[in-house]
Each structure stands twice: as structure tokens, then as C-alpha cells.
Amino acid sequence: MRRLFSRPDFVAGIRDMTPPLIGIFPFGLVCGVAAQAAGLSPFETVAMAAIVFSGAAQIVATQLIAAEAPVAVIVLTCFVVGLRFLMYSAAMAPHLKPLPARWRHVLAFVLTDQAFAAAIRRFRASDNPGVGASYFLGTGVLLWSAWLVSNLVGFLAGNVIPAAWSLDFIVPLCFLALLVPALEDGPARVAALAAGVAVVTLDALPMRLSLICGGLLGIVAGLLAESLRRRA
């Protein structure tokens, strides 16, 4: 552990992840506000942020908690929302392979949309796995700490922020910023279009099942579009 750890790269990770906090902090605030609105205690809010550590999963979970959906539906929906981590995990795996298991277990925990995008570049730039790993750890530690603070501040400020500010609109904007780069080719756009049409059409389904059904239909549509294009 000591041999791999590189302090300059750890610090570089923290430094590079500081400007994006401007975007991440409001997202954490909104998660805290949503948790407060769903009736969670401050401790439960921070625990959820610390353990789940995913804005998308937390927002979906708190919305479903507020809608009084059954536990199984909440867990299943959040699991599908988090499936993109499988993809990040697969992309990160070759870079983490030379590392000891302890490093891999810790770094997997701090694997997020933002840390993934930043760290994958650092890993590709150097042959020494300690460089990328320390950098990744730096981005992860900063994001995780900032995430807890922003969630707690959001919880405490929940009643103070005027509704007219429409701060909850930060949530779709955060996802839009991740979504747009994912629309890289035809089949991905078909997947998005199908998911969007399906989620609105199926809105009347109970327990917000429209979310998981719309997402799954979108994935199937993307696969079909890709198969058709290959055959053509």
C-alpha cells in the first residue's frame, strides 16, 4: 500500500476534482432536500449519502420512498439505475488489475461518473499503476467528503430554499449533462428515444414502475437498432 501510494498524484486528484464540485455540490444539496421532504432524519440522510454514494440512486430512492413504494420495487429500480457502474467497472478493471485486492476494493467504492471520467485518463497516461490509483483515490476521497457535506447542508436548508428558485430542476440537468455525451451514435439515440417515449406513455403504472420499464425498453430498442444496422 505504502509503495503504491503517490502523494503528488493523490493531491493532483483532489486539485482536478475541485472545480467540478461547483456542479456536484448543488446536486448533493438537492439530494438532501429530497431526503428531508421524504421524511428522513439528518442521520439517515448522511448515512444514505455515505453508503449509497450515487446521486441518481438516492434521488430515485427518496422519490419512491415518498411515493410509498414497496422496498423490493425501490431496491430493484435503484439497482437498474446503478447498472451503468458495471460498465465503468469493466472499463476500469484492466487498469486496476496490477493493484492489490485492498486497493481495488477501496477504489471500487469511490467509482462514480465524475471520478471515472477523470481517473481513466490518468491511468492511460502512465505505466505505473500507483500513479492512476493514487489520483483516483484523491478524486474519490474529495467527492465522497463533499457529497456528505452537500447532502447534510441540503437537508438543513430544505425548508429555507424558496420553492420559486426551482432548485429541484438541478437533478434533470445533472443527468442531462451525463446523458448528452452518451448519445454518441444511432443505436444509443434510439435507446434514449424509446426510453423517453415509454416512460411518458407508461406514466400511469403504479409505484413509478414506468422508470424501470422505460429504461429496460430503451435498452432493448438500442440492441435491436444495433442488430438491424449490422445486418444492413
Binding site: P172, L173, G214
Partner: protein, 114 residues
């Protein structure tokens, strides 16, 4: 969902499953090749799931009521944010543009209604 126990089950189960997803190829399936269909399907998860989260938050002006007109400020703001996201690839710029467009559209709508 009922009570505190249910909440802790949700937190631990969602956190645990999220961690397993993150850990999957890094540790658990490190020596296994992903089945081709699974890797093809996973590629569409961000496009499909993020759209399924974003679209209802933008198009519904009230529960069960879709507003696909310029009278829906969230639609205007989402379009502006999409253009900025496309051009800049910057989450921060996307968020600032989206919120600014939302406030502007809301203000103009109020002004138009007098």
C-alpha cells in the same frame, strides 16, 4: 414502504448492490469475460436509464399532464441545456445554462401573463 426498518433495508440493499456493481469486473469477475450480449446491453444503460429519469422531470407540468409547448419553461430550459451540453461537454456549464434558461422562461411567462 413502512418505517425506519424499511428505510435501512433500502439504504443497505441499494448501497450493497451499487457497491457490487462497482466491484463487479474490478474484483469479482476479474477472470471472467463478459458475455457479448451483456456488454452490448450495458452500453445502452446510460442512454436509456438517464433519459427515463430526465424526460418525466421535464415534460410533466402536473401529475399526468404532459406539456410539450413553449408554455412549459422546463422544456425550454432542457433544450437550452442540451445545446450547451452538446457544445461544451461541461456539466457545470450545462447546469448554469439550464437554470438560467429556466428562470428566464419562468420570468417571461409571468410577464406575458401580466
Amino acid at each position: 414502504m413502512s418505517g425506519t426498518v424499511g428505510l435501512w433495508i433500502v439504504v443497505l440493499a441499494v448501497g450493497g448492490l451499487n457497491y457490487l456493481s462497482r466491484l463487479s469486473f474490478i474484483a469479482v469477475f476479474a477472470r471472467v469475460d463478459m458475455p457479448p450480449l451483456v456488454s452490448r446491453a450495458l452500453r445502452f444503460v446510460p442512454a436509456a436509464m438517464l433519459t427515463a429519469i430526465v424526460v418525466p422531470a421535464v415534460v410533466f407540468v402536473a401529475p399526468g399532464n404532459v406539456g410539450l409547448t413553449p408554455g412549459n419553461p422546463k422544456l425550454i430550459a432542457a433544450l437550452a441545456a442540451t445545446v450547451v451540453a452538446w457544445r461544451t461537454r461541461s456539466p457545470t456549464a450545462t447546469m448554469i445554462a439550464g437554470m438560467a434558461a429556466l428562470w428566464l422562461a419562468q420570468w417571461m411567462l409571468r410577464a406575458a401573463r401580466g
